[in-house]
């Protein structure tokens, strides 16, 4: 029904109204893009931005409250943690680790998951059976138990955390892609492409994949948040990043024991997680709207 909306040439009469509307509609996305950018800049320029050395302990500042509370100090705006380290600086440096873990795990997992899921859903037969069994075996393990087991086996370390999380994470995009592929492969346009003599690779990559990306993107953005939280869960179980490195997850997890006495220790990194994840989602939604007119009604 919207096949008339093909053009983007601005008409003269409604420029003002359109701008107003566009501004209103995009403000949220713009803010989100800015938030994401701020976080990215923070990760790059952490030494310049952070007010303090994130690992400088000062036991006299142990559990110092945020600046606006009694006993606070504007030099340590968000207060200090259990070792008197500046929470703001640790959040700024912690963004590096959390974003790194989130992005690397999801990129790895989604890449592998798409390949495996496409292959399983498209070829079916023994390919599907083999991939299905591997997926079943991995899914048969509860996620955390698997991660704990891997971490216990391989020992602590950032790389091992990424592996322990990605090892099973790919299964999720794989399942989604497989299911969607199964549904799409029977559709007429795919059959048409096949009839035209297109190769399997072409069909999977050019005909099927673009049509199933939207659920994959939805699932991946959600999972990225989940990965950051899973890292926090590993920290909760004592298998997170190594000290004195801060990741948001480990900060939330370490601070949870203080939650009754010093809520700020885990609340601010927790809010940082929420803010970043929220911003990534809103921004990606905005970009998708702009680039995929199907969604921009």
């Amino acid at each position: 029904m919207t096949d008339a909306t093909l053009s983007h040439t601005p008409p003269a009469d409604s420029l003002f109204r359109r701008n107003l509307r566009d501004f209103r509609r995009n403000r949220l996305a713009m803010v989100s893009v800015i938030v994401v950018l701020i976080f990215v800049i923070m990760t790059v320029a952490a030494p310049l931005v952070a007010p303090h050395d994130p690992n400088q302990t000062d036991l006299f500042r142990r559990l110092q409250p945020p600046a606006w509370m009694e006993g606070g100090d504007w030099a340590f705006v968000l207060g200090c943690d259990g070792l008197g380290r500046d929470i703001l600086s640790r959040i700024i440096y912690g963004a590096r680790i959390s974003i790194f873990i989130g992005v690397v795990v999801i990129v790895l997992a989604t890449g592998v998951g798409i390949l495996a899921g496409l292959a399983a859903g498209y070829f079916r037969g023994w390919v599907d059976v083999v991939i299905g069994r591997i997926v079943d075996i991995l899914l048969g393990f509860p996620y955390l138990i698997f991660a704990i087991g891997l971490m216990a086996m391989m020992g602590p370390g950032l790389f091992n955390i990424v592996l322990a999380l990605a090892y099973k994470e790919w299964v999720i995009p794989c399942r989604v892609v497989r299911g969607e592929t199964l549904a799409v492969r029977e559709l007429e346009y795919v059959e048409a492409a096949r009839a035209l003599g297109a190769g399997s690779g072409h069909i999977m990559w050019r005909e099927i994949l673009p049509n199933i990306m939207s659920p994959v993107i939805v699932v991946s953005t959600i999972r990225m948040a989940n990965v950051i939280i899973l890292e926090a869960s590993l920290s909760f179980l004592g298998l997170g990043v190594q000290p004195p490195t801060a990741s948001w997850g480990s900060m939330v997890s370490d601070g949870r024991s203080f939650i009754l006495e010093a809520w700020w220790v885990s609340t601010f990194p927790g809010l940082a997680i929420v803010l970043l994840v929220l911003a990534i989602n809103v921004a990606s939604q905005g970009l998708r709207d702009a680039f995929d007119p199907r969604f921009s009604e």
Binding site: N55, Q56, T57, L59, F60, R62, L63, G82, L83, A152, G155, P156, G238, L239, Q242, P243, P244, D254, R256, S257, F258, I259, L260, E261, A262, W263, T267
Partner: protein
């Protein structure tokens, strides 16, 4: 769904001091406890928390009072006949929970069950056998006297006996070791009501209780109708349960929660000196810590008082040797002063003018303290990275019993529930012993420890341990840190209960008002 306002509200509330106490049925005493019991069989476990629960159901020949003195319980008296023979006269009129009388036969059976190989049935030996040392035999010498004969002198037998409890021979024979795991028939102040596995252990007062050790007042049946161990592993939740009035006692109160529990109207904090010594093991087989000067530098780098004051909230006692101030044979030792400049100078003397870089292993639970220590070491030229590992892995890495080990430094501890030096000194300092993480080897000390272990003269024995403490104080295989107190949060409705240094929670005398 709309979680943000709720979250903010909760956060705001979390900071408000007004926390009302709530009503609990007056006759129930509830303990917020870290771990469930593994089993209720007194002879078939190796865990302190399990023993804490079992000790309220089963009594032992001997017990400890809150000040850690060993006093008779089921035994009426103890006589040491020779260095290797002890006689115990059994109190009469003690009844098991099922109403049957307890006899010397039951005592012998209970001790045999622990000490004799294969006595648990199915060819199994009690995992508690090691706690009974060199016991050769247990005999009934006349109707009500039980004699324990040792293979060699073992002066800490009385200190170790409170760890063993008396079971009913007939009951064990009827139900087997398998049945003992979940069914109980003890002589203690409480009998088992219901065990909701992983959730709670509900104990009921045993009305025919003989009264317990006469040396520990008051004597008689337990005060409360029911005592409930409620399992809450997460410390913040345990504190919350106390503040909410759901429980009356919680163990392992975190130091940072002390202020809040004290500030809350209905709750208070109780502490007792602990028995676990914390230290930094330095790998003397490694490249840097084989040098005494480097080890001394590490010792001078650490401001123990500051950590005790700021992180442990003053709830720990500083040590200069391995022994807790409360332990047998503990004495005043030369203190290592906090002096980072001296540490740097010592490093330079040892050939490291630019300092050294090391890694310190520790468990997740001690991450905070370890990081504080690491930053102090770093300030003094020992650039320290903390590596958090799992306890099982670290044990394997550091407690090698003489096999070569990797690693530089290990922030760890050793418990000493008996407060007898033998239990802590020998394993951590004797050459190639189980807990000798530093890889310390001193033949003179080995000889001294061996003779002290079997010395029967109390004063001589204390002097020997004093000498040993001076030796290790000089050699500094470890940086000896502190002995933390055990901290409990209690409801103000609770009376008659005192925490005990061996971490037991004896509920016999506890009342709820």
């Amino acid at each position: 769904m709309n979680a943000l306002p709720r979250l903010l509200l909760a956060t705001a509330l979390a900071t408000s001091p007004a926390l009302m106490p709530a009503a609990v049925a007056a006759e129930d005493l509830i303990i917020g406890f870290t771990l469930d019991a593994d089993t209720l069989d007194p002879a078939n476990h190796r865990k302190r928390e399990t023993e804490t629960v079992i000790r309220n159901i089963y009594d032992g020949l001997l017990t400890r009072d809150p000040d850690m003195r060993v006093v008779p319980e089921i035994a009426e008296s103890m006589t040491q006949v020779s260095p290797t023979i002890y006689d115990f006269k059994i109190r009469s009129g003690i009844k098991f929970h099922d109403g049957t009388d307890m006899t010397a036969e039951d005592v012998k059976f209970s001790l045999d069950r622990v000490t004799v190989e294969g006595a648990m049935g199915d060819g199994q030996t009690s995992p508690r056998q090691g706690l009974m040392g060199p016991v050769a035999s247990v005999e009934i010498v006349d109707g009500d006297t039980v004699r324990i004969t040792l293979k060699e002198p073992w002066p800490i037998l009385p200190a170790m006996l409170p760890n063993q409890q008396i079971v009913s021979k007939a009951f064990v024979e009827a139900n087997g070791t398998a049945g003992m795991a979940t069914m109980t028939n003890g002589t203690g102040p409480f009998k088992l009501g219901e065990w909701r596995k992983g959730d709670a252990i509900i104990l009921q007062r045993f009305d025919d209780y003989y009264g317990g050790a006469p040396d520990i007042e008051p004597v008689g049946a337990a005060c409360v109708d029911r005592a409930i161990f409620k399992i809450i592993p997460e410390s913040a939740s345990r504190v919350a349960a106390l503040l909410a009035g759901d429980v009356h006692i919680i163990n392992e109160l975190p130091t940072f929660s002390i202020a809040q529990v004290k500030a809350n109207a209905g709750t208070d904090v109780m502490t007792v000196n602990g028995t676990r010594s914390f230290f930094l093991a330095m790998n003397m087989q490694g490249e840097v810590f084989d040098d005494l000067k480097v080890r001394q530098a590490a010792a001078h780098a650490i401001d123990k008082n500051l950590i005790i004051d700021r992180i442990l909230d003053g709830t720990a006692a500083r040590i200069e040797g391995i022994l807790s101030p409360d332990a047998f044979g503990a004495s005043e030792l030369p203190a290592v002063a906090y002096d980072p400049e001296k540490a740097k100078a010592l490093l330079a003397e040892a050939g490291y003018p630019d300092g050294i870089a090391i890694t310190m292993d520790t468990e997740g639970a001690f991450k905070d303290t370890a990081e504080a220590i690491a930053s102090m070491l770093t300030n003094a030229g020992i650039r320290t990275t903390v590596a958090v590992g799992e306890s099982a892995q670290l044990t394997e890495k550091w407690r090698t019993a003489g096999k070569p080990k990797s690693g530089d430094m290990y922030f760890s501890s050793w418990g000493n529930g008996s407060l007898d030096p033998f239990d802590i000194f020998t394993p951590t300092h004797k050459t190639n012993d189980r807990g000798n993480s530093a890889g310390y080897a001193n033949p003179a000390l080995d000889t001294l420890l061996d003779s002290a272990a079997i010395e029967m003269d109390v004063d001589k024995r204390a002097a020997m341990y004093r000498e040993a403490e001076l030796m290790i104080n000089a050699d500094q295989p470890y940086v000896y840190l502190w002995v933390p107190q055990d901290i409990y949060g209690v409801s103000k409705k609770l009376s008659g209960w005192k925490p005990s240094a061996d971490s037991r929670i004896n509920l016999h005398d506890a009342c709820i008002n």
